[in-house]
Subunit: 167 residues, 2 copies
């Protein structure tokens, strides 16, 4: 079991695209009731099952297991609530921290979010120029909630600024 | 992923006690919403995480993974809805089938249930003399429901016959 401590930011420009190649992620959630999330994920030819406890500030308990790809695919198809989350993930080092930028597809297209994993809730880190408003505490941006209420269904006035992508 | 096909019976006498030693099981469930169950289990010094799909007749999809004991213990303590299920499990071969008898403890004390796993829903099997009424289709007897509405809380008139245990 790991303690996951992370902070999340909307991404406001596209300069980060020059720093990393994307990896396609597909994931879904078994509907749960107590703030625990049960996630099946496929990354390339690898399957994962992840259980996360309720969020406490910017921390939560996380249990992640590598599982057979076929199991993860069956869970996504049969046990997870549609729509699935599909996104390109980009990993970029900024100072001494690894940032992950998620560029969402499908029902969440238009949303780009960056997160940095920390050792403690009070850890100092460099904020890259492409990181915009912090949304760590906004539950709408949890991936598990984006699977229930996708970004494209949000009322226009509360949507984050779309990132337009140059050709 | 396996397909779990099993039939369950109440146990009406104690003759089975002479055939097997018990193993203590502790398990709990992450509260879910769509008939999927997410179970953490500790058997001796081994931890397991099991995801089961919704029941279809007497069949359901089952995904079981061995996980670190400490992970399973933390899930039981922090993520599973109390009360936990605690039971002694006894394994007994009857004809060509393995039966598992569960003698429940704690809030489910008094309930003894036997189940046999089958290859197909129509498979023939020997019914041992200590197997009573079939409860395969009675959702009250699902372990996940016994964690929510334990046997001891059932109205007396719908309780199964208690098995009295000789000294």
């Amino acid at each position: 079991m790991a303690q996951e401590i992370e902070r999340k930011f909307l991404v406001t420009d596209v300069a980060w695209r020059q720093y990393a190649k994307g990896t396609l992620y597909r994931q879904g959630y078994v509907p749960t009731q107590n703030g625990t999330t049960v996630r099946a994920r496929v990354v390339g030819d690898r399957g994962y099952l992840t259980i996360k406890g309720p969020t406490n500030g910017v921390s939560r308990q996380e249990f992640e297991y590598h599982i057979p790809l076929a199991d993860a695919e069956t869970m996504l198809a049969d046990l997870c609530q549609p729509p699935l989350i599909e996104k390109w993930r980009y990993r970029i080092n900024v100072g001494s921290h690894l940032w992950e930028i998620d560029e969402f597809l499908g029902d969440n297209a238009g949303l780009v979010m960056a997160e940095v994993e920390l050792e403690s809730e009070t850890e100092i880190f460099d904020l890259p120029p492409w990181a915009g408003a912090e949304v760590s505490h906004d539950a709408r941006y949890y991936n598990s909630n984006l699977a229930k209420t996708p970004y494209r269904s949000w009322p226009k006035e509360i949507s984050a600024t779309d990132v337009s992508c140059p050709e």
